[in-house]
Every structure is written in C-alpha cells, then in structure tokens.
Assembly symmetry: C2
C-alpha cells in the first residue's frame, strides 16, 4: 500500500494530496503533527531524514521526499490523466509555470510567514537545521508576493488554466499558493479579479476541498 | 533554428548549455551581456519578459524562459540519451535531487553572493524587479551551503552519480553548483573528498568544459 505522510493545514503536503486525488492513486494517509514538531522526531526522521512533509512511501518501500519527486513518479506510474503535459512544448510550459509558482509564490509566502510569525522563531526554514528569522526577509517576501500575484492575475486575464489549455500541475500549485497566501493576509482571490474567477472555476474540482 | 540566449560566466545558462550538449541538440547561441545588464534592456525584455538567461527560442518561435522548461522540453523532444530517468522511480529520484540541488545549493550560493557582492547592490535577486541586499541572508546562505555540501559529500561516498546508476540532469546541476560555489570561496571539490572524486569523474565529459 502507498502511504502519504501528510499534515492537514500545511501547503506542501496539500500539493501531494490534491495530485494523488486528481490521479486517483489509492493510498493511505499518516498524519505527521507539525504543530508538535513530530517531523523532527526520531520516528519520522527514520522515514524522511529531510524532516519534511509530504513524503510518499511506495509499495516497494521507496520513500519519495518532496513534491518534485512525487509529481514525476505519479505522472510516469499513472499517466492518466496527464498533469505534466503531453507534447514537448506542453511539458515545458507546465514545468516552467510550476517552477515559477514555487520560486516566486511559495518561497515568497514562506519567507513572509516564517520570518515573522512568533511560532516560527528559530524555524525560518523547513528541514532538519534551525535558522533564525530575518525580519527584512519577511518584508521582502511580502513585496515579492505582491509582484507574483500581479503577474499571475495579468496572465489569467484571458485564460481558463495557468498553463496549456487544460488542467495541470501548474493549476494545483497555483491554487494552493493562492490559498496559502492568506496566512500573510493576502487574499489574492478577492484582491485580483482574474485570479478570483479562475479560483472559483477551480473550486468545482472536488480535489480542492482536500 | 533553435537559439540559446546565454552568458558565459553565469551558472543558470550553463545548465542549459551543458544539457543541450549532452543531448546533442543543434542550436545557435546569442550572448546576453549580463555584465552590462543587457538582460534588463528593451531588446531582451521583448524576448524574455522575465529578464533572465537562459532562454531558449524554439523553431516555432516559442521561447522557454527557464531551466525547468528547457529540461522538460529537451527530454520530450530528444529522448536519447535520457537525462530525467526511464522508470517512474528513476524519474522521481532525478527530479527530487535536481530540485534539492536548486533549493539547497543554487539558492544558497545566490543568497550568499548576491546579498554581499558590491556589484550586486540593489540586485539581490535576478529578474525584472530590483531588491536591496540583506547582509544576514548572505550569512545564512553560506551556512546553508556548507550543510548542502556536507550532505552531498556523504551521499556521494559510495556512488558514481548523484541519482540513479547513470549520468543525469542531477549530475549536471550538481557539477554547476559545485563550480559556482567558488564565487563565495567555497571550493567543495577540494574540501570534500567524495565530491572531489565525483567531480574529477565528471570532468571526463566534454560538456563540462563548456
């Protein structure tokens, strides 16, 4: 049986959770309680030494330790429906948008949130090593995030999906970063008209209630 | 004809340059002079509004604007030799290592270098928007980079390649971040024995003289 190591409120494991649902990949779920720092304890460290979720244990015991690995595996092992594109140019477009959403979106929210929230003191980055908060980086993250959503909103002005002409991994990542940004009080789906319309369209997919 | 927008001394376009060489993809090269900030000028902005290299213009005029898109396109359009893996688990392993090398390696060197170098004042991030340097982030980048190379060195102790049992995109990225780290005076191939041995092995490939 495939096992997803997950935590309900965190954005990174949500990316894997929605992907598995869209692909219809049967699995069981184990909750790793990030609120109690269970990801840093010995039991989970033995499963994923990177001390992060999501992690996905496959039938043969292989453990995939990040979203990049999980998406590549899922697309190859369960090709239908394709979420990483079919033609070379579609594959490029989806990979590029997904990377851009990570770099300009997810990292920006994470910078803004983890470098300012009192609960994240000494935990400014995920993973096994502790890093102190850098308040200037929180400010920069917010500024970057604003630019990211302006760009995404303009991009979505005449499009139904973030990349190509159908639903893809880029939509999954973009929905999750849009929702996650509320943690730093940026309500992108309310503040940006095209993002709002696209997000409402995405809400029709049952996977996004996960 | 395919056109690579490139700059010789920069690490990001080198990733595309080596990939195209390993795949044997014919192309012409146009140099964008980053030293003169040509990437921010109107002419290049019309080609890649993200103002970054590498960019790859395809036969049909499509412009791929980052390494994620270029690698996905190249693997699909020129499957041989495979550089992103063949089986689902190989694909996962390579995607995961490549992402990890980006996040923990490339971003760490970039943080250390761009937040400290006098020439990078006001240009702490690549791209169209100017951001001021954050000295604490330069320090954190150096610390992160040390942890990254310790991890990579331990990983390479009993391996010939970074991921799977043959040459892949993960080796390309790891060689380039290892070489790039010299810009912040971290000579990983000299300081870490296993990295040194693997880097010497990689030097046998003509693509790495590019």
């Amino acid at each position: 049986m495939i096992t997803l190591y997950d935590f309900p409120r965190a954005p990174s494991p949500r990316r894997a959770r929605v992907l598995l649902a869209e692909k219809g990949i049967p699995h069981e779920t184990v909750i790793v309680d990030l609120a109690q720092q269970e990801q840093l304890g010995e039991a989970f460290r033995a499963i994923n030494p990177r001390c992060t979720v999501p992690a996905l244990r496959l039938d043969d015991g292989t453990v995939l330790t990040d979203n990049a690995g999980i998406a590549a595996w899922a697309e190859a092992a369960y090709p239908e429906p394709p979420l990483l594109g079919v033609t070379p140019i579609e594959k490029a477009e989806i990979a590029s948008w997904n990377a851009r959403i990570e770099q300009e979106g997810f990292y920006a929210v994470a910078e803004a949130m983890r470098n300012s929230a009192p609960a994240m003191k000494g935990r400014a980055l995920t993973g096994a090593v502790d890093y102190e908060q850098i308040p200037e980086l929180a400010e920069r993250g917010l500024a970057r995030l604003g630019h990211f959503f302006e760009m995404l909103d303009a991009h979505l002005a005449d499009r139904a999906f973030v990349a190509t002409d159908r639903f893809s991994l880029a939509d999954i990542s973009a929905v999750i970063v849009t929702d996650f940004a509320r943690v730093v009080r940026l309500k992108a789906a309310e503040e940006f008209a095209h993002i709002g319309k696209w997000r409402a369209h995405m809400a029709e997919r049952p996977s996004f209630s996960l």
